[in-house]
């Protein structure tokens, strides 16, 4: 079953592999001591090594290696105790040395696996081929001057992890789920901030199509796609294009393409750019990178709880469904928020509130989980007010909105607005009596078997009590009055 493209000649399967470039979180660049902060003044974070001045030499930054190894461990991948750095040679103005130091034949991390969850509730294993460390290039700015290009080398030499997947992905949804899951793992590990809009994570998307049971056909690589949505759109657009090419009797050419997000299509990059012979060879300025097994073990033991483990724990300890747990653990901060709310309270209620009203408020206000419209502590207190019958669920929703508005804690909102639930049975009996008296026709219908009308009486009574009546006591009183 699954995703497929119906062409005029039959059904086409989509085959996708992703190369994700993730900027390593580290204070210094991969081979120099320069800072790596985003948004600094152009060329303010450039050392003589980064600018490839004569006689300058690279020295590997231990922290970047540590982050790559931790990422490998987080991807359940094999860590290569010996790896090598190679030079990838090409000329470009934002590549000062004329070569990028990368790991071509012997990457620091080997095969691993990422499990993704799909909307139909199924899960799928996507193979990771390898992860290697490499330098980023600088940035060419072509729009600053009518006839000149400007170069910013702040990014030149920043450490990137290139994470290459197997061609295991079969739909735009799977591609999106893979990128999201990968980003989630990197963020949990603190090895990449995953900010695709700032360019600290970007994907090259390899797409081909084939008829069922065929070997792989020619693929195209869509470079530098910078959001999950665009990754999904790019897969869809490119697969569609290739089906059309094949079905028109043409041949898909292996080439590098760009995704035009405004028009929702891919188009070829200038052919000049992919005629490179990179002349890879081992970088003679660097010795092989040799890792200590004990150090790798130390890093493995110190890994934080990762998304899959956390999800399993949420399902087990909080009794949540896979779906709810999956939503809550997608971001480490959201999971922590939930755990604060759920601590000592009913977990299912906490989950409903976090994924329901709280997420809605988050979206509406444009807030972030780090700076939420309602704190986890206050949301917890709100749940407490419901649990001890101070307010009922309906009032709670109003109190929550007031909390978003004012930032006040729920108890003071309840007090200031007199929202305490009425549990006085005589007041409830009075209200019930009034509603029954005013609706004798409905009473007759109810008694003749129209059970559904019971809800009408509950609503009317609650309305008469300005929403503050205890629902259970109202039910009880109504049953008595209508029997």
């Amino acid at each position: 079953m699954g995703y497929a493209i119906e062409g005029t000649t039959g059904t086409w399967e989509v085959v996708v592999g992703l190369e994700v470039h993730a900027q390593v979180i580290s204070n210094a660049k991969l081979f120099s001591g320069s800072a790596t902060a985003f948004g600094a003044e152009p060329n303010s974070q450039v050392s003589f090594v980064d600018a490839a001045f004569p006689g300058m030499l690279p020295v590997i930054n231990r922290e970047c290696v540590r982050q790559a190894v931790r990422t490998g461990l987080g991807l359940n991948a094999h860590i290569n105790v010996v790896s090598h750095f190679d030079r990838k040679n090409y000329f470009y103005a934002d590549l000062p040395s004329g070569y990028q130091i990368s790991q071509y034949q012997h990457p620091v991390v080997g095969a691993g696996v990422v499990e993704v969850q799909l909307s139909d509730g199924s899960t799928k294993q996507i193979g990771v081929t390898r992860l290697h460390l490499e330098q980023d290039a600088g940035k060419s700015l072509h729009d600053q001057h009518p006839t000149k290009s400007f170069i910013d080398l702040n990014r030149a030499g920043v450490a990137l992890m290139e994470i290459v997947s197997e061609p295991d992905i079969r739909s735009p949804e799977e591609a999106g789920a893979y990128v999201r899951k990968l980003r989630s793992i990197l963020r949990y590990l603190g090895t990449c901030d995953g900010n695709m809009e700032e360019g600290s994570m970007r994907a090259d998307v390899n797409v081909s199509v084939r008829k069922h049971g065929e070997p792989y056909r020619t693929r195209c690589e869509i470079k530098n796609v910078n959001s999950v949505r665009f990754v999904m759109q790019a897969v869809e657009a490119e697969a569609q294009r290739q089906v059309e090419v094949w079905e028109a009797g043409g041949t898909v050419q292996q080439e590098t393409r760009l995704f035009d997000s405004a028009r929702g299509v891919t188009r070829p990059m200038r052919s000049k750019e992919d005629a490179h012979d990179y002349r890879y060879f081992p970088d003679p300025d660097l010795l092989p990178l040799v890792l200590d097994e004990a150090w790798i073990e130390e890093l493995r033991l110190a890994l934080p709880e990762l998304p899959d483990t956390k999800q399993a724990r949420f399902m087990r300890d909080y009794g949540l469904t896979a779906y709810d747990a999956g939503v809550l653990i997608a971001e480490k901060e959201t999971a922590a928020f939930f755990e604060t709310v759920a601590k000592g309270r009913d977990a299912k209620t906490a989950a409903n509130w976090v994924t329901g009203d709280f997420f809605a408020a988050l979206n509406r206000t444009g807030g972030s989980i780090e700076n939420p419209p309602v704190s986890a502590q206050n949301l917890g207190k709100l749940l407490d007010l419901m649990a001890d019958n101070t307010i009922n669920g309906r009032i709670a929703k109003n109190v929550f909105e007031a909390m978003v508005e004012t930032g006040k804690d729920p108890a003071s909102i309840v007090d200031e607005n007199g929202l305490r639930q009425v549990t006085d049975t005589s007041a409830i009996d009075d209200a019930v009596a009034r509603i029954v008296a005013a609706n004798q026709d409905k009473v007759a219908e109810y008694k003749s078997g129209k059970d559904k009308l019971f809800g009408f009486f509950v609503g009317q009574t609650m309305k008469a009590m300005a929403g503050k009546g205890n629902p259970a006591l109202i039910n009880e009183a109504l049953k008595k009055a209508l029997s």
Binding site: F48, A52, A93, R279
Partner: protein, 494 residues
């Protein structure tokens, strides 16, 4: 008293300590020599006159305070491949043009730490690519030695460190730095009657040395005696965390090692260095050297380095491959020469066509070719495998012997213009020196005799990796036995 410029470093060190003369006197004597002879010899590209005098005055102050370090007040020449803070560094190329590095190479920083005075930057083959100093964009260097019968012939000093060799031979500096990638210290040392030291790979930091071939570049010193060479290397060497290939090992007392003698040492004679067509006088000098060592108590042993014959071919694949990549940074964008163009590609092409000379261009093309898709396995990869076999040759023989003795070069200095018709002929100059570079083992050339024309010939001692001490001990014995006292025709005060 002998002239100040004729002193060895050891003698000058003593004289400075005894206040026989000042560091300023010593520096001025050399600066005067440079002024008189450099217009002819072209050994220096840049003379840092006022900086040298400042450093000499600082040295005198230190001496007055009783603070004498290993090289306090000793005037040296620096190969113009070492970046020197505030002093133009050309690498012998037009492409670096007016480049003034804002940083000091680790090796020269070590020399300055020890009190040395820098007279200036010496001429070299462009990017150290050559064996004659003829490829320099700043003109050829004249060897201060003359053929007895043909005093008009202008001889080359060898290369690539030709300027450093000529400067030390002509008494324009007491010592100099060089770099040896395929023989660029030892061959010019042999041509100019000097001691040239190529230490083990990793012994001297490459940080701040303009790269030619990273896995082969060895900084090292020139001196007029083995002991002076030991003093200079002792200062230049040492672990440098800024160079990942630098060896994290203590630096032994090389000067002391010079006095060890060779009694009981086993000296290997590699059969494969007996090349067809080698001049008889070089063969004879080699036998003479072995006799000296035998007389001094060493045991002479025939050994085999079976892959020697592949050394040159391997070198001329590995070195250009690395160079083609190392020299990509000279693109006209950030420093040095820029020739503007229609677009980026045009800028690259114009800048590099104008900035690089023919030999550099040839090697970039060779290097680019051997790394290209489809040729990598046949050339670069195979060369790396043979390089490993050459290293194994040395490892194997050093299980049985302590050092090797060989000639340094297949001939004495040749005249400018000779060997220029065919690059391969020029490359053959390095046949005896290249293997030690490929293997990273230490080697020293010592002046051991004169050829029929009265030109110096060197013998080479090769040792185990990081065992420079034994190499110095053997070299000192050869030096003592040879009693080489001949002087070049052109020299300061001569």
């Amino acid at each position: 008293m002998t002239q100040l410029t004729d002193l060895t470093i050891v003698q000058a060190r003593d004289g400075l300590r005894e206040k026989d003369f000042s560091a300023v006197d010593l520096t001025l004597a050399h600066l005067n020599g440079i002024e008189a002879l450099n217009p002819r010899l072209n050994a220096f590209i840049t003379v840092s006159h006022s900086q040298a005098l400042d450093q000499a005055r600082a040295a005198d102050k230190a001496l007055a305070a009783g603070e004498q370090r290993a090289l306090t007040g000793i005037p040296l020449a620096i190969k113009d491949l070492f970046c020197t803070a505030g002093v133009r560094t050309t690498a012998g190329s037009k492409i670096l043009g007016p480049f003034v590095p804002p940083y000091e190479s680790s090796v020269t920083a070590n020399l300055l730490r020890d009190g040395a005075v820098f007279l200036g930057k010496t001429n070299l083959d462009e990017f150290a690519m050559g064996s004659s100093n003829m490829t320099s964009a700043y003109g050829p260097v004249e060897n201060p030695w003359k053929r007895r019968q043909d005093a008009n012939a202008v001889l080359v000093p060898g290369g690539s460190s030709g300027g450093s060799a000529a400067a030390v031979a002509a008494r324009l500096a007491m010592g100099a730095t060089g770099t040896d990638t395929g023989g660029s210290i030892r061959q010019p040392a042999s041509f100019c009657g000097l001691v040239g030291v190529k230490p083990s790979y990793g012994r001297c930091s490459r940080w701040g040395v303009v790269a030619f071939a990273s896995s082969l570049d060895h900084p090292g010193p020139f001196a007029r005696t083995v002991r002076d060479g030991a003093i200079l290397l002792g200062s230049m060497a040492g672990h440098d965390p800024k160079d990942s290939t630098s060896a994290d090992m203590p630096v032994p007392d090389y000067e002391a090692a010079c006095a060890r003698g060779v009694k009981g040492l086993r000296i290997g004679v590699p059969l494969e260095y007996r090349m067809d067509g080698m001049p008889g006088e070089i063969e004879a000098l080699w036998r003479q050297g072995l006799d000296w060592l035998r007389s001094a108590g060493a045991e002479i042993v025939d050994v085999s380095l079976p892959h020697t014959k592949y050394g040159l071919a391997t070198y001329y694949i590995v070195a250009p491959a690395e160079a083609s990549s190392n020299l990509a940074r000279y693109d006209g964008v950030r420093f040095g020469l820029r020739h503007d163009g229609e677009d980026l590609r045009d800028l690259y092409e114009r800048t590099r066509a104008e900035g690089f000379g023919p030999e550099v261009r040839r090697r970039i093309m060779i290097g680019t070719y051997v790394l290209s898709a489809g040729y990598y396995d046949a050339y670069y990869l195979r060369a790396q495998k043979i390089r490993a076999l050459i290293l194994k040759d040395f490892t194997d023989v050093f299980a049985n012997v302590d050092a090797l003795l060989t000639p340094t070069a297949p001939s004495a200095a040749f005249a400018q213009g000779e060997n220029m018709d065919d690059p391969i002929k020029m490359y053959l100059n390095d046949v005896f020196t290249v293997p030690a570079d490929l293997a990273g083992v230490p080697a020293i050339s010592i002046p051991a005799g004169l050829d029929v024309n009265g030109l110096p010939l060197g013998l080479q001692v090769i040792g185990k990796v990081f065992d420079e001490e034994t190499v110095f001990a053997v070299a000192a014995e050869v030096e003592r036995a040879a009693g080489f006292t001949a002087l070049p025709a052109i020299r300061a005060g001569g």
